[in-house]
């Protein structure tokens, strides 16, 4: 790894500033589908930014635009201060890892990784050193002479990564690169990727539909919906303060309780549930009383108590009955029937924690700051 630093392979500390700016990109196709509706995004240098969204939301189209495989109808793409909206892909200096890796089947691992260097007319001796270095980074020195089809899926993934970073591009794009790997492997590749990103100070735009992966990897997550970015921020910020029901539902697990807004003001909200019970929470957006709203409660924020020993509070206490018990290993999930609405509560298993069985009467409690009130879309 030190060798890498000597040859200028690794970055010289965290860069500052903005690497990539997408400004109001639009794209529609002749058949009438609209892929992007004014999508804007700013990617800071040296960070991983994930585009997270359901399939068809426009995240892959966005990636294609950045790489140059598709052109926006309007809007601009700026990479390191240079407008590249009309630059052909081979002049953009962007590395990309494809979903299916897109390794050249007729070339050895070495030749695959050397390809971008050869296209840049680098000296033969340099190529040899730099390729070996890149293969060392992904721990694949031993397989340089093999063909891609002679490698496992995980190894192919690493070759694709080595090939995308070997020429030290300004930006690395990854299109669901771990989709084809099994769960165990995916976890270790994610850690490895994070380590490499820090070590080489890479700027990465990462496309995924896997919210756990996005939260694990990203410095920032941009939630894409209908060809627009609906919210962008650090994973924790997005999780704790989603701005819409869509974002809340897409990132992490959520319970929603429908009701009517009884009182609102100064970020506080009181909601009347259909059965007349009232809940206190934070309002996510300014709303007027009488409006239909949804209350978001994350499963781990719900406390489960034995019915006879209710906590001494009157606020946000909901009585119900355990309907299902799902054992998750370190935690247990209770699905609680509240005589109509159902809530899922996740409780971490500690020695002191009470456990419940199906049919047990229980009382749920949640702090008002953990109830986020949204206007129902």
């Amino acid at each position: 790894m030190n060798m890498a630093a000597d040859l200028g392979f690794s970055g010289a500390g965290v860069r500052s500033g903005t690497c990539l700016v997408l400004d109001r990109l639009t794209r529609s196709y002749p058949d009438g589908t609209v892929a992007l509706r004014g999508l804007s995004l700013s990617v800071p240098a040296g960070r991983i930014v994930s585009l997270l969204g359901p399939s068809g939301s426009g995240k892959t189209t966005t990636l294609k635009m950045i790489a140059g495989f598709d052109k926006p109808d309007s809007g601009s793409i700026t990479l390191a201060g240079r407008d590249i909206s009309r630059t052909p892909p081979h002049m953009r200096d962007i590395g990309m890892v494809f979903q299916n890796y897109a390794l050249f089947p007729h070339m050895s691992v070495f030749d695959n990784v050397a390809f971008p260097l050869r296209m840049r007319h680098r000296a033969r001796r340099d190529i040899e050193t730099v390729v070996q270095e890149a293969l060392a980074l992904v721990e694949l020195q031993g397989v340089a002479a093999r063909l891609p089809r002679q490698l496992s899926g995980g190894q192919q993934q690493r070759v694709a990564l080595a090939r995308a970073i070997v020429f030290r591009p300004q930006l690395l794009l990854m299109d669901e690169p771990l989709g084809a790997l099994d769960r165990q492997l995916r976890k270790s590749v994610q850690s490895e990727l994070k380590r490499l990103q820090r070590q080489l100070d890479l700027t990465v735009v990462y496309v995924t539909h896997d919210q756990e992966e996005a939260m694990f990897l990203s410095d920032e997550i941009a939630i894409v919906q209908n060809g627009q970015i609906v919210q962008c921020g650090a994973p924790a910020a997005l999780y704790d303060a989603p701005e819409s029901v869509f974002v809340a539902g897409f990132l992490g697990e959520s319970n929603f309780l429908g009701g009517t807004l009884a009182e609102a003001g100064a970020g506080r909200a009181i909601v009347t549930l259909p059965d007349g019970r009232q809940m206190r929470g934070r309002s996510a957006a300014p709303m007027s009383a009488g409006r239909a709203v949804s209350v978001l409660i994350r499963p781990e924020k719900l406390q489960v108590h034995v019915a006879s020993r209710a906590p001494g509070r009157e606020v946000n206490v909901l009585a119900g009955r355990i309907d299902l018990v799902n054992f998750l290993g370190g935690a247990v999930e209770y699905e609680v029937d509240l005589d109509g609405p159902r809530l899922t509560a996740r409780v971490h298993l500690r020695a002191s924690a009470a456990t419940f069985a199906v049919g047990d009467p229980v009382v749920l409690h949640v702090e008002p700051q953990d109830c986020l009130v949204f206007p129902t879309p």
Binding site: A67, G68, F69, P88, P89, H90, R92, D93, I94, G95, M96, F98, N100, A102, F104, P105, H106, F115, P116, M119, R120, R163, A164, F167
Partner: protein
């Protein structure tokens, strides 16, 4: 019928799965037929070349003593190489176009390619004579346009033979190449482009190497056809366009010298085999690289 259903369906083919036990036996009639009408005659031909009219190598000796036969063989070889190369150059873009065109357009293009098959090679060759002859359509058009003052003879040139053969053999080339090109993962081209390859390099380093197996199959078919081509050179060619197949024909039909005809046929067969083996070898080396 069954093949069509299997090819068109979405069922996953399982290698070990069989239609029913003993399905392989259905291939038996064709194997028997091939043995009777192909293997036997070739055996007889080989035997004849060494025994007719008396045992010995005198037929082969005669071939070497008269350089004209080897010249004809070399000329046939050259014709096959030129026609194969020309077919490849004309056919490759067509096959490529069919892979990138919309499916409906590709179907029409491939269909048009096969329209000439509705007529036999003889008919198509005569049709070319009608077009290219001294009183043919082409001369008529050129005279009418005032580009020439008197009819030109387009027939009986080597180039005419080559043109006709390319036209006749093109579908045999395009189909296997098209099938091969369709298997190329187009994301590889994007990948290469993104890694810094300009379009020409994408073609040279990615697309062309990956299309070689299909190209070789197509070229092999065309080359082998060329080597034994008879009708078109006979009808359209001049005296210098005599192919080995025409000489062989003359031995059997005209001279009634079956021994010498058999010897020439044996040499033709051997040359074809050598050429095929060489091409296969190159193709294999290339796919291993």
């Amino acid at each position: 019928m069954m093949d069509v259903a299997l090819a068109g369906g979405t069922a996953q083919p399982v290698p070990s799965q069989r239609l029913f036990s003993g399905a392989g036996l259905l291939a038996l009639p064709l194997i028997v037929l091939l043995a009777v009408v192909y293997v036997c005659p070739v055996g007889v031909m080989l035997a004849d070349s060494f025994t007719d009219p008396q045992p010995g190598l005198q037929q082969y000796q005669r071939m070497i003593e008269h350089p004209v036969y080897l010249q004809v063989l070399a000329r046939t070889f050259r014709l096959a190489v030129v026609v194969t190369a020309a077919t490849a150059i004309c056919g490759f873009p067509v096959a490529y176009y069919c892979t990138i065109a919309r499916p409906a357009v590709a179907r029409i293009a491939l269909g048009l390619l096969f329209v000439p098959f509705w007529a036999s090679t003889v008919v198509r060759t005569y049709a070319l004579m009608v077009i290219l002859g001294r009183t043919g359509i082409l001369n008529g058009a050129l005279l009418w346009a005032g580009l020439i003052s008197r009819p030109t003879q387009f027939l009986f040139h080597t180039a005419t033979v080559q043109l006709a053969m390319v036209q006749i053999l093109l579908p045999f080339f395009v189909l296997p190449v098209y099938a091969g090109l369709r298997t190329i993962d187009l994301s590889l081209l994007s990948a290469a482009e993104g890694l810094g390859a300009p379009p020409w390099q994408v073609f040279r380093r990615i697309y062309l190497p990956l299309s070689l197996p299909g190209l070789f199959t197509g070229a092999l078919i065309v080359f082998v056809f060329c080597f034994g081509f008879f009708i078109t050179p006979t009808l359209l060619g001049g005296r210098r366009d005599v192919t080995i197949a025409m000489v062989i024909m003359a031995q059997f039909e005209g001279q009634l010298d079956w021994g010498f005809g058999a010897a020439l046929s044996t040499v033709l067969l051997a040359c074809t085999l050598v050429a095929v083996l060489m091409m296969l070898r190159v193709a294999k080396q290339d796919s291993n690289r």
